[in-house]
Symmetry: C2
Subunit: 256 residues, 2 copies
Amino acid sequence: MKQILVTNDDGIYANGIRALVEVASQFGEVTVVAPDRPQSAMGHAITIGKPLRITKVDLFGDLVKGAYAISGTPVDCVSIGIDQLFEEPPCLCLSGVNHGSNSSINVIYSGTMSAAMQAALAGIESVGFSNVSFDHDADFTEVKVYAKKIVQLVLDKGLPPSKLLNVNFPNTEDGKYQGIKICRQADALWTQEYDARIDPQGRKYYWLTGQFIDRDKGEDTDLYALKNGYISVVPVMADLTAHADLPHFADWTLGA
Amino acid sequence: MKQILVTNDDGIYANGIRALVEVASQFGEVTVVAPDRPQSAMGHAITIGKPLRITKVDLFGDLVKGAYAISGTPVDCVSIGIDQLFEEPPCLCLSGVNHGSNSSINVIYSGTMSAAMQAALAGIESVGFSNVSFDHDADFTEVKVYAKKIVQLVLDKGLPPSKLLNVNFPNTEDGKYQGIKICRQADALWTQEYDARIDPQGRKYYWLTGQFIDRDKGEDTDLYALKNGYISVVPVMADLTAHADLPHFADWTLGA
């Protein structure tokens, strides 16, 4: 029986992870290892200065072999899950379904995607799923239909070594999708601005705000696919080297 | 006068940031914006569920225009620094000097590098510096000599848009370096294992441990350069797309 790890960053009580558990349980035996509280925007953070706790929870009934809430980050969940909660290593990791987009630059902030990447580094086929809708009561019916098709593709065709998938479901008026598109990550950014306020003690504090700016004109990007009603699928890797720019540095030499 | 942002992830009281301030102050007016406590291994985490505080500190005397401790992550420091603490945007961001290596896969866990990346996304030329030695009393004399040379190269030659540099200084017996090498990120990983213990209340808790595994045989990697006494310089980007693998997915189609 295939052993499958399901995780997320919205926390083990989020609706999105239940949708993914329902999909995963059709492919094998599911163990859920997810944060005990929301851990959005934690990126690839890991817990190094304090220990972790594992709490067994009964949230998913017969759909799972076991479910565990972890007192750490999404990446912690994958690492401690693989090390402590599987008798044989899982062959598949599904992360999400995230409430909110992880397309384009969001991928580097996303705990959902970092958890999936941690599994990929450990040699496990891995997919992160996100729904562009932030609505925590969003209808996951179509998401589940396509998540199942994508998992089947991954199992049938395999992923290149250490690579994972970043899957995002668009917001469409009728809740239907045009299909899937293999894309590259759009060049976008968040302008991170802060709203300064004064607390009752007269001290300043600052809330993060900001605008999302898509500065990519390409029609092969995840943002373009999502805007046109397609599910975006970006193959992702942990190698951050700007390979195409290496020639720029050909004459950067400094001897001893 | 050039405006320069200096940050790190070890916290504003670490020795490494003082070394970098000394280098930066030779190129322009320095503003330090760094975490108020150690924030190693925070990756690209940002603070979204609670507000931030800014505390002005006097740690660097005349070397800086101002220094500010932030109650958040390294990426928070760069964002709130640019938005709140500069009259005109900085033209250069220097992050570090980190105590410990950020070569190879460490780059995705590193708050030092994520802070530098956040600045690069905002259009600021940006470099992360790390010393392979974890010793907090390490001698930074040679580090400062070469950090200055590298900053001069960046200012003279410029970096490709949105790209940044990951600079690591090797541990050498005589404290001298062979020079610099432009490299790609080595394919390596941490096996994340957990040491289970029992607390005084009889409950289990888990400490992260693990081994570093270099699984890359290449001689063009940062790990190879460091092993041979060179300073490794990897051009880094925030695009995680596995571009070379896109052909693998040519027949991954799902219609509506």
